[in-house]
Amino acid sequence: MLPVLLPLIVALLSAPATLLAGILRLRTAAPVGAAFAALAALAVLWGWTTSGGEAVDAAWVPSWDMRFDVALDGFAALYALLATSVGFVVIVYASRYLLLHLEHEGRPETDVVRFYFFILLFMGSMVGLAMARDLILIFVFWDLTAIASYFLIAFDSHKAESRASALMALFVTGVTAILLLIGSLLLYAAHGTFSIPELANVVEPGPLLTGAGALILIAGLAKSAQTPFHFWLPRAMAAPTPVSAYLHSAAMAAAGVLLIGRVYPLVQKSDTLLTALLVVGFASIAVGGILALTRDTLKQILAYSTIAQYGFVVVMYGLGGAYGAGGAAFYVLTHALAKSALFLTAGTVTEATGNDKLSKLGGLAREMPLLALGSAAAAATLTSLPLTLGFFADEFFFAAALERGAVFAVAATLCAGTTLAYTWRFWSGLFLGERAGEAPVRVSRLLVSPVAFLGILCLFGGVYAIPFERLSEAAGAVSFENATPIDATYHFELLPEYFMAAGAYAVGAFLVVSRPVWRGAALGFSRVGKVVGPERMYRDWLHGVNRLSDIVHVLEISNLRGRVASVLLPTALMVGLAVVATPSGMHTVGEVRPGQIPLVLALGVVAAASVAATFTRLHITLALVLSSAGFSLAVAYAFYGAPDVALVAVLVEIMITILYFATMRLIPYEALRKQSQLPLTKGPRKVLISILAGAFAFVVAWGALSVPPAGETVATEHIRLTPEVHAGDAVTAILADFRGFDTLGEITVVCIVLLAVVTLIGHKNPESEEEIEAGGRAEREGATVERVTRSIAGLLYLPTLVVAVALLVNGYAEAGDGFSAGVVAALGVVLRHLALGSRGHGSLPPTKMATALAFSGLAIALAVAVVPAFLGDAPLTHYPAPGASVVYLGTLEIITAVLFDIGIAILVLGVLTGILSAFTHATPAAESGEKMSYEERHEGREGS
């Protein structure tokens, strides 16, 4: 188990560890990051050799059949090794390059930490992606790579181009990632598993496999920048060079073919999918090859070449067979080494000469011999010259094509020829010929040695390819589900592949020589692509979406009240339709028993108060009318047989009233007066809408209330079970036990609201001298009435707290629960504050403290919920178990449900005092500088 998990753990830990190192000491970020990458690479090697393809398969979300299923098989080892080792090289290179880059851009050095964090996050998610065998797990890591790539491409976030390019990459790969999810769900719906090895055993060729497989393949092809999704990759060149090198060779674009290779056991059962891969692959080779021949910027040439190279891999998967699957893995490996070296070369050259255009560079071989040699080895590998690793890659490509027939063999030869043409153009343009421009400055050794190292690897592989071959065979076997014997040695007899290779060199040479002939045509192709290509469609789509959003926005804000109506009316319409569609056929008046007369009276007061609220002018009156409606409602609840609700309703009503006044206090008196003098628009339309809304509410409510309760409901079950869980009050038992999860969710929401309130209100130092003085003045002016209130409040404070505790302790047996206890306690605190002012005993706890209190309450409730999971029970199991005997402490039962309730009470107390404290400590709006007076606004409007 350890050999499998260790690489993943090290890789995932590397990003936070480097971030921490970078924060503590900036200079350590690069060494720590490089060390972690190297460690992760070693861990992959060790894990692969010792575990031998072992898997760790643990339940993740068992109820949805999601599994944490990771394996360090050959396939995972290949991609994980690439991600970690190329990551190491890139970080070493970046340790020098990035400082220069930031200096050019005039940015602080501290930004490097962000770079290392995201590139290592990318590495970690690539290792995870490589090892995952559960489709949902793959999706998670897949999206993680998209996030990391977004931040990496937009590393120069001050440039609009970088941001737009990052957004484009995120859109193209993110939207298609949804297709991956949909495809996975389709497969799950049919076969009941997300596991790829299990799916491979059960899927049958057919429309389902074709559909689901196509969706998954589209995700992979888009990530590997295959036509027609290729346009994001050249754009992503806006990123710093190390990012480009990593994205192209071992991370982002490699992830696409990784996915294709991983799901290949499913894909290869469908001939349609294989044909589609062939078509897309050849199209990408053509588009990438032609465009690479027309570009002038170094990184653009390489970007289009990457599109073409992954086209080769896709074609190999499309061709299938042992050489297809094994060769594809080998090709990815080769390409990663060569392409990262070439990207780093481009970066070094640009750093040395300050130029990134091929037409303005040349003849650098004399000044930079080591760089020229290293990149020559890489370029030779890309063009698959003999004695380099790339020779075998193309040999397998040719072999796979030969197996499928002569047509494919010819096409393969032509394709391989284009590679030689643009690679030669790139390398010869840099290093051969006359020097253009100024002499290059000397660059740090750290910018050259990574290229040389990668070049040596390429040459070493050309002589002794066995390790690469083993790794690729193991990887291919996972994709192909059979052994894929590929033979990476030189043969002395003349294989047909050798003739094809010779043909490819000839085609390449011809393309190089005949450049003047086809250049115009290639440029024309590039121009046509600009006008009608997929990138154009993407932009049009983006503009369309933008315009739509603008239109909706303008619609929204042009008439805010109209929008309220536009929500209400369709709702009413739908409700009306529902009522018409499902007639209950029962509308009973229902008897009014003599005992219910008080209830009727209370309801009457509620109705009257609500109507009164519609024509009240002054805000104070409005608040009082509102609270009288609320209090009457609370009375009604009590008569309904809901003492708990009534209790909480009274308390909440008090709090809302206080809060309302607290808000009014923050707004200057003149504004309020102006507001209350606004005409109460009683347009016939508004009255009609309100009456309609009321009518709909009436129809629905009457229809629903007329249906008699079914005999045996959940509620009866709850009542029956209440004594079993040692409770007396069924409502409390439901809140704390039966439906504890609902309560947990609710209190979390309430906590978040507290945070939102505190954040939004923004407060100044509560104990400023001025405020205290102002409070004192107000108090002096407050005459004798205040003194009476004050003494009453003082007397009431302790009793309220006692009542709160009593409610809490007794809640399980009688009326009351955590909510009411919390509200009562808060009420005591608030009452004292209102009476005594913000001085001495009357001051509310600081907002921070209240927030801490609220969250500690949440923590208690969460702990009660989670701890049973560690004891092997379902979360939120309460102890002692139902029916078992309970220890009593006086009248208090010692059960965990009570503890849950205590958590709720603390939380409610914290939230209520926190919200009120935030309001009282807030700066009244008139004083806060950001406000513009009404007159000023008016003037501004007239001026414009």
Partner: protein, 152 residues
């Protein structure tokens, strides 16, 4: 009794809707609070009308739950009340923030100034320029026609 409850629910809901359509933001808040009150009353009414509080020892029908008020709707109503309070607090803070930044609580004026802000935003930062990078460095520099085209 259920007719009566439904009527009261309807009256509260209608009044709330009327307030929701007003220009004054504070009235809108009162409207929202009233509507949530209507919802709670509806929930409570739907399970009640049956008898005493669901607290042991039960009055009336004993263990079967006959003649006892429905505890489940009460639990839901409790939840709704607390969340309603939290929401009211949040909306009140929003009003404060709106007033602090716009200097008014009149929806008409807020809509006007939003409109103006949106327009000035449009002018300042054209999304087309933001989202689409200029296609530079494309094509060959030794092709002057292509170069100018790219620049444009």
């Amino acid at each position: 009794m259920n007719l009566l409850s439904a009527l009261v629910v309807a009256v509260i809901f209608g009044s709330g809707t009327f307030l929701l359509l007003q220009r004054d933001l504070t009235r809108v808040v009162v409207g929202i609070i009233l509507i949530s009150n209507a919802a709670v009353l509806f929930i409570i009414s739907s399970g009640l009308l049956r008898g005493a509080a669901p607290i042991y020892p039960l009055e009336g029908g004993g263990l079967s739950g006959e003649g006892v008020a429905d505890p489940l709707v009460q639990a839901m109503a409790l939840t709704a009340l607390i969340i309603g309070f939290a929401l009211a607090a949040l909306i009140l803070v929003f009003i404060y923030r709106v007033y602090a930044s716009q200097g008014t609580m009149d929806l008409e004026e807020i809509a006007d100034s939003e409109m103006r802000d949106a327009q000035s935003l449009d002018r300042a930062d054209d999304p087309e320029r933001e989202e689409v990078p200029e296609e530079k460095q494309d094509g060959e520099t030794d092709d002057p026609e292509e170069e100018t085209r790219a620049r444009r």
